[in-house]
């Protein structure tokens, strides 16, 4: 990536889809994501939310960190890096992974794409080049940042399969969840994966930045026959909480950026124990994670349904109403589809067990006046919302 000296004149970068996004936005509600200017809300939040849940939403994913990892030892390197067993990963498949430091604290999570025998793409929320290179000593592996060289779009929602098929992307019907394949869209080569961060049926498209606008145009040309909406970060936040996905740096501190002792978190502590495989052979953080697993749990990031409909916002969580303070809400949303207040909360366990009953105390405003509310919280072990249509192959046609 060639960066000009004059880059300071434009603090926020523009993705290859930016002009298209500007043309659609009416809210002018922009956010910063990894140095890029992206919409928080494109047009109207409720429309964008329901586009994911009932139609088709398109989101610019370009700012997500992307790393190309290739070479003879690429697989061995990745196996050493991540906490998950990669034995089942094969070319054309994607898997969700997380990686830790020596102390078994999470550095980040992400999706790992195996593009061919020795070529992978790792997508992450935070900047990882330093850690990836540090971990690469002794491996014959090449690691390159491709964040700015690959344009990416998420196309999500029940009609995403129909919309993309209509837009000219062939062979989507055979694509199973977590499959990735080479394809094309109206003659433009691209990579398609059946992945997403919404918990709904959906795809992610990966292409050359120069082809980005043409692909966007092909998808939005379907409008008129199918409803397609561009979507911003706020709608994504709602649907990812419904899907029970965690957001590193927001739901927990990433280890490399943590200043205060014990403010970082292990995979077990954020509910990612299912990704950890202690038996797969050595990996970074294994010893610490094995020791942690042998002890009673200290805390968990817990999915909570909070009674009532008052906006929860920032809240403390207590063991019983007026009981001992045991945790804090990390993220929260009102779920329009479940008609419920959802939250992910960092909860301290008592004697290795989740304290019960849990109550949240939070402040909310009515015509400038602040009130304090108590609401009972109900812990969930499963994602809040998992629609059946998300995993059908071939997906339902509309």
């Amino acid at each position: 990536m060639n960066i000009a000296r004059e880059h300071f004149r434009q603090p926020l970068g523009r993705t290859p889809f930016h002009e298209r996004m500007v043309a659609l936005t009416t809210s002018e509600h922009w956010a910063t994501w990894n140095g890029y200017k992206v919409p928080r809300i494109v047009d109207k939040l409720s429309i964008e939310y329901f586009a994911v849940r009932s139609g088709c939403a398109v989101m610019d994913l370009t700012p997500m960190e992307k790393y190309r990892i290739e070479g003879r030892d690429a697989r061995a390197y990745l196996d050493r890096l991540v906490v998950r067993d990669l034995a089942k990963l094969r070319p054309g498949r994607v898997t969700y992974v997380a990686w830790c430091n020596d102390e078994g604290k999470l550095i980040d999570d992400g999706t790992l794409f195996q593009l061919d025998e020795s070529r992978y793409r790792l997508c992450s929320q935070h900047h990882q080049l330093d850690w990836l290179l540090m971990s690469a000593r002794g491996f014959d592996v090449g690691i390159t940042v491709e964040t700015h060289d690959v344009a990416a779009l998420a196309v999500q929602g029940p009609t995403s399969y129909s919309v993309l098929s209509e837009a000219g992307i062939a062979c989507l019907g055979d694509l199973k969840p977590f499959d990735v394949t080479r394809s094309d869209c109206a003659g433009i080569p691209l990579t398609v994966s059946r992945t997403g961060y919404t918990g709904d049926l959906g795809y992610e498209l990966w292409m050359e930045p120069g082809d980005a606008e043409a692909v966007w145009d092909a998808i939005f040309a379907v409008r008129g026959r199918y409803d397609v909406h561009a979507m911003g970060l706020n709608a994504l936040e709602m649907v990812r909480i419904e899907a029970g996905f965690v957001m590193p740096g927001f739901d927990f501190n990433t280890a490399e950026a943590t200043v205060r002792n014990d403010h970082d978190r292990s995979p077990y502590e954020v509910g990612l124990g299912w990704v950890v495989n202690l038996d797969k052979g050595h990996f970074c953080g294994r010893k610490a994670l094995a020791a942690e697993k042998a002890r009673p749990p200290r805390r968990r990031l817990t999915k909570l349904v909070v009674d009532g409909n008052r906006p929860v916002g920032e809240a403390f969580v207590y063991a019983g109403r007026n009981g001992k303070q045991v945790g804090e809400v990390r993220c929260t949303t009102w779920s329009p589809i479940l008609k419920a207040n959802l939250a992910l909360a960092d909860i301290e366990f008592i004697n290795g067990k989740l304290p019960e009953p849990l109550w949240a105390r939070f402040d909310y405003q009515r015509e400038l006046k602040w009130h304090t509310a108590w609401a009972e919280c109900h812990a969930q072990s499963k994602p809040f919302y998992v629609p059946a249509h998300r995993s059908l192959t071939p997906p339902a046609r509309y």
Binding site: R5, F8, R260
Partner: protein, 539 residues
Amino acid sequence: MSGRDYDAIVIGAGHNGLTNAAFLAKAGLRVLVVEKNEYIGGATVSRELYDGWKYSNCSYVCSLFRPEIYNALDLGRHGLKVVPLTASMTFTQDGDYFGSYSEPNVRRRELMRHSPRDADAAVRFDADVMRWCRLIRGFLLRTPPDPGSLKPRDIFEFAYLLKKFHELSETQICEFIRFFTMSIAEYLENYFENETILAHYSGGSIIGTGLGVYSPGTAYVLLHHAMGDVDGNVGAWGFARGGMGAVSGAIASSFRALGGEIRTGADVEQILVAGRRATGVRLASGEEIRSGIVVSNLDARRTFTRIMDADDVPPALLERARKFKIRGSSGKLNIALDGMPTFPALPGGSPLTLGHMHFTDTLRRLERAYDDWKDDRWSADPYCDFLVPSQYDPTLAPPGKHMATVFVQYCPVEPEGGWTDEKRAAFGQTVIDQVAEYSPDFRDLILHAEIRTPRELEDEVGLTEGNIFQGELTFDQLLFNRPFPGYAQYRGPVRGMYMCGSSTHPGGGVMGAPGANAAREILRDLRRPDTTPAEYPDD
């Protein structure tokens, strides 16, 4: 109170002397500050040496000054304004530069422009430095414990120290010890690979020291430049509007409003002692002023070897004072400019001219600059911290004109054959030539330059050897070892005699903390209510 002219006399109207005096006056004491110069401020001073221009003759930027003191002495209402600085940069020899911008996205992209890996490593670097800053900041407004003492207060303070360390993990404690004892070059090489980025971030660690970028102990000095803040932005630096003299001016104004008196042109020749008690001071004029409390803002070597009778100082202490590591290594140029110099490497409108500008782009060049100093020469290719504060501050130069301040590392205490005015001019020319390499019009814009070597810093300000920190900031001279073991609690060898300068904990920089901490100990001995502020919580 018969026989006493004042309750307390503070020797030296530097920022710490004034801070100390103000807190004593706030407790109701009758306090006199005596200053040898005709102007106050010590090294926190601004003077008009060229008609229409105001120079911050010594210290030139503000970050470490404790906000608790600022608030407690009401310095805002006494005229102090600290405007945050928004950038720093290093020019490279190939016509490019590295800029450290304050806007986080731009800062990151600039790091990426030089090294994508270093841009990512900066996250880890920032978190680690912040961890040490938080740790050390908790000790700034506290008196160091005497580790050998069993007094309840020392045990309490030592327990506080241990508790602070207990908050770190085992690995972090090891890392902290490494941090205190490593060189800045080695420390930074744990994070960065790009030569320019390494040079840029290491510069702050040699400022004011008799050490090079590869000398053990310089990593800590980085912290000394990173632990300050402007309005909560840790590590940020600011310009005091009106120059650094505005800082001492505001403290003096606050002190006077509390009933304090300042006498300038009053050079103290001797601290008077009778019966192992301080009884006052004798001025060079022969005048004696009586007081039961005498506080020295002078550096530790000067205090014990120059203004105390050798009979009043235990021989071991006198020996420590003679051997106190206080090596001059810095020079300074203050320049009146006919206009803003241009820097062709910088695109027009670059915000980088608003901050620190450096011209040394490799660790090797920085180390060579140090090599010259070891041989008693000024650096042929020095490390310069160049700023043009008049871009922000209309009080420093006439409209359209500018004032540049150039801090220079390294400059010897005494070049071979001693300083002469010709040598001083040649030193200044070396600095001007370096800047002019990057700014072709710089030389022609110079209307007047004040050139200061350690000789001037010692002769005018009274800093021994011209050491800007009143003693090296190395681990052997920090915390309960500053200035000497057994004398870290601001008390001198005779009753009623105290120290309040940067020679004492927590050390140099325009911080005010030594002055405030010393006031706390004095008021404690007098059984007066403590008027000094506690540190803001940093949880």
